[in-house]
């Protein structure tokens, strides 16, 4: 790559992916190789039982998976985790039933996967975000956590605090499974901050008989800003599944909202046969509840609704609203996580004060549109009183194999918290954007102005290291090619996954960035736009991420994710990427369409990671201007009283 200044021309991305395989060492270097391995083996023997940070911590039931050495290649046999206990599938079953060999991951590759500035515990399994809030100067974050292993199970509440939603400090576990009503799981819940200063935490417990019940907990000491200790209400559970609702279909209570009749309301997702529904209860004291008639929302054939969320957004102002706000200036967002497909959906509507009904703006919206077209589930918002914003957290699971998770000793991260606003220009969707505090991680930057990328070319971008980046880019297609382009049958290209990925060439796309790539482009992850001209002459733009060439390993997901993105007149195509080792968060058109991906390269790691621009269109030249920052680590670590305010 040395001496190749912009622009460069390379052959376009090849259409057929080369099959992933583990290449054995060439004969010529065998003796040197074995000499080094001999040294390695000797040292390994000497260092014997030394604890490696990436060694697995397995449950008793996972003993056979415990390993400090990489496993020899063997066919994957994913197991289901979650549904038998009463929650959605938590395992990656994409590769179940297909004969996929496990890749021989080593410590170097696995330790690279840990993120530098996304929230994750020091080790083990995490899933849903719980009870996010701001209290006495600290942002609090709780999460579903398995203290015993890197797979779902034995769930308790982890806890961390931060001054700025970015630099987190780990605290002791907030709640463990120590009562009959949550002995089988201290599951998801939400916080409600009362005007009199009380902090109410409602959460789902799985009882000793696996019945899902709702419980009340509150801080042991409200004057402790760190809220380290929690008390479970002596009269728990406060809610049992109502008549007609299955005892395993009743979980994840929301933050409460206050209405003019002097009562607090909460929503809980459930289902009746295959119709997903949301029940509403009201209460005065969070100890006794009354089920309201009807449902807040219901959609047939969607299955169980988990982690529902219900909150107002301002129609006019660029700020968030407290959960209880309602009025003419306000729309209400109804959100649900679908157990069936592990995706989060939301719809905009009006919450009628008179009768407590929520009416969607578009009667045909059904379940709604997705928050994020990649891996993003069990999301939850909260109202940040400190800065007056509505902030969204999302659980980002792994898309590699359980074997690899156990070997590396951890699984899952959280998204960077996002502000949520109504898109005032379209009026029909939300905008999500990383909280501004993430900008404080920016170190040195490089600007590239109006780089021309011709059809069928790849341009390297010289940034020092390409594993921790904040990229802001704008693309423009040449006007001639736009006019000349034939009208395609856009309906045949209804999604990113049916267009052939980044290698599927057309007149006006795809074009974008290749992240987490290596010099030889044997591994790369395209984040790109694809423009097509519809039958009516109007342009339709798609925003996608293609994982088919992201890694030479065979045991990671290789899908193409994405969706169409509204591009208004006179808007350029713009994108922001947060690259952080094995996670890439992409935001198009200011957050109209978001895609979060997990990427697990085997070669494009550490100093070998590169960044490229690419244009696989056949007709159009693309001009791109970018600013790229190196991102600092967030130094997420256990809380230490002497060091608390240093970051």
């Amino acid at each position: 790559m040395e001496g190749c200044t912009l622009p460069c021309s390379y052959s376009p991305l090849p259409a057929e992916p080369t099959p992933a395989r583990y290449r054995p060492p060439k004969k010529a270097t065998l003796m040197v190789f074995s000499g080094l391995l001999m040294l390695g083996l000797v040292l390994a023997i000497i260092n014997g039982s030394r604890d490696s940070d990436v060694r697995a911590n397995g449950n008793a039931s996972l003993d056979k998976l415990k390993s400090s050495m990489p496993l020899p290649s063997e066919p994957l046999q994913p197991v289901s985790r979650g549904p038998s206990a009463g929650v959605s599938e938590k395992s990656n079953l994409v590769m179940a039933g297909v004969n996929v060999m496990s890749f021989p991951w080593n410590n170097t590759m696995l330790s690279w996967q840990r993120t530098a500035y996304h929230f994750q515990p020091e080790k083990n399994w995490m899933n849903d975000p719980n009870g996010p809030m701001f209290y006495k100067g600290w942002y609090h974050f709780f999460y579903q956590y398995n203290p015993n292993g890197a797979v779902w199970g034995d769930i308790v509440w982890g806890h961390a605090v931060s001054r700025d939603l970015i630099h987190w400090l780990h605290l002791p576990l907030a709640m463990i499974a120590d009562e009959w009503y949550d002995i089988n799981g201290v599951w998801t819940g939400s916080a409600t901050l009362l005007p009199d200063g009380q902090v109410i935490m409602l959460y789902t417990g799985s009882t000793n008989e696996s019945v899902q019940v709702q419980n009340l907990a509150y801080p042991a000491n409200l004057s402790d800003p760190l809220l380290i200790n929690w008390v479970k209400y002596s009269g728990n559970p406060v809610l049992l599944p109502p008549r007609g609702i299955n005892f395993k279909d009743f979980r994840d209570p929301t933050t409460a909202w206050y209405t003019s009749d002097g009562r607090w309301h909460i929503a809980i997702g459930s289902r009746v046969n295959t119709t997903g529904i949301t029940l509403v209860y009201h209460t005065k004291d969070f100890k006794s509840f009354e089920l309201l008639d009807g449902v807040l929302h219901a959609v047939p054939a969607t299955g169980m609704w988990e982690c529902v969320d219900f909150y107002p957004v301002s129609k006019n102002a660029e700020q968030g609203l407290d959960t209880s706000v309602n009025g003419a200036e306000v729309k209400h967002v109804f959100k649900t996580s679908l157990d069936n497909d592990k995706h989060d959906y939301y719809a905009l509507g009006t919450y009628e004060k008179a009768n407590g009904r929520w009416v969607p703006d578009d009667p045909k919206i059904g379940i709604g549109i997705r928050y994020d077209y990649g891996i993003f589930y069990a999301s939850k918002t909260f109202y940040d009183v400190r800065k007056g914003r509505r902030v969204l957290w999302g659980w980002i699971g792994e898309s590699d194999s359980e074997n690899a998770d156990v070997q590396k000793g951890w699984a899952s991260v959280q998204s960077i918290p996002r502000t949520v606003l109504l898109d005032k220009k379209t009026g029909t969707n939300l905008l999500q954007w990383p909280v501004e505090e993430v900008d404080s991680l920016r170190l040195s930057s490089k600007e590239f102005d109006k780089v021309e990328v011709r059809p069928g070319s790849v341009v390297p971008l010289d940034v020092e290291t390409a594993t921790q980046l904040d990229i802001v880019a704008e693309f423009e297609l040449d006007k001639e090619a736009l006019e000349r382009a034939n009208q395609t049958n856009v309906e045949s290209m209804i999604s990113c996954s049916t267009s052939g990925g980044a290698a599927g060439r057309a007149a006006l796309g795809p074009f974008g960035l290749l992240v987490l790539a290596d010099d030889g482009l044997s591994e790369y992850t395209p984040v790109y736009f694809y423009v097509a001209k519809g039958a009516d002459g109007n342009l339709k733009t798609f925003f996608c991420v293609d994982q088919s060439r992201s890694s030479e390993a065979s045991d990671v997901n290789k899908q193409v994710y994405g969706s169409s993105v509204p591009v208004l007149k006179d808007e350029k195509l713009s994108v922001r990427l947060l690259v952080d080792h094995s996670i890439v968060e992409s935001f198009a058109q200011g957050g109209r369409t978001c895609i979060t991906s997990r990427v697990y390269p085997t070669k494009a790691i550490y100093g070998a990671t590169r960044l490229f621009l690419f244009n696989n269109a056949t007709e159009a030249t693309v001009t791109c201007s970018l600013k790229i920052w190196q991102m600092n680590s967030a130094f997420i670590r256990p809380f230490h009283p002497d060091q608390e305010t240093w970051i």
Binding site: P24, M38, L41, N107, S111, A116, S440, N632
Partner: protein, 178 residues
């Protein structure tokens, strides 16, 4: 060692082709931190950054400098926000807070400069920049001292200590280099 032993060991190592010895590791982190004035701070800071496991001593120094940057940037922001909530008439307090905010920004710049020097293996220059970074909080503290009516906020005192401790740790690591 007899040639048979070497041969057998080679065979054994071929039977386990997947194990690759990693350059940086937990031992290196511990030994490096032992050479610094604040072992616990050094250890918890380096362990919180995933790339530390694969870093050499120079890399560990760079990671610690990153912490210094985060600290000074945060303090600078903190001072700016303090500035916003000062009473309009209190021109002296405003002046002092502004001066302090500037000093902590210079400290962040000094850390940035030291990163470049570390990369180029100019350890003397890197050392110099870290020493400068450690001195900027004194300038801020002195600004408060000049005006007897102005108390030095305990929050700022904590941050000053924090920055100095981080600097000592970086200097301890640089001592092991070059």
């Amino acid at each position: 060692m007899g040639s048979t032993n070497i041969f057998l060991l080679s065979l054994l190592s071929l039977a386990f082709p997947h194990y690759i010895f990693v350059a940086g590791d937990a031992n290196l982190i511990q030994n490096t931190c032992k050479n610094t004035k604040y072992y616990d701070l050094c250890l918890s800071s380096l362990k919180s950054n995933p790339t530390s496991l694969n870093a050499d001593t120079k890399g560990l120094a760079a990671i610690m400098v990153g912490i210094g940057i985060a600290n000074t940037t945060a303090t600078s922001s903190y001072l700016s926000s303090q500035l916003l909530s000062v009473n309009g008439n209190d021109t002296i307090k405003k002046k002092v807070l502004k001066e302090c905010s500037d000093k902590y920004t210079y400290a962040a710049d000094a850390f940035q400069a030291s990163v470049k020097d570390l990369g180029a293996e100019s350890y003397d220059y890197a050392y110099m920049h870290i020493t400068a970074a450690a001195d900027y909080p004194n300038a801020c503290h002195n600004a408060f001292k000049r005006y007897s009516g102005l108390a030095y906020p305990p929050e700022l005192a904590r941050r000053e200590d924090g920055l100095k401790h981080i600097c000592f740790v970086v200097l301890g690591i640089i001592d092991l280099l070059g």
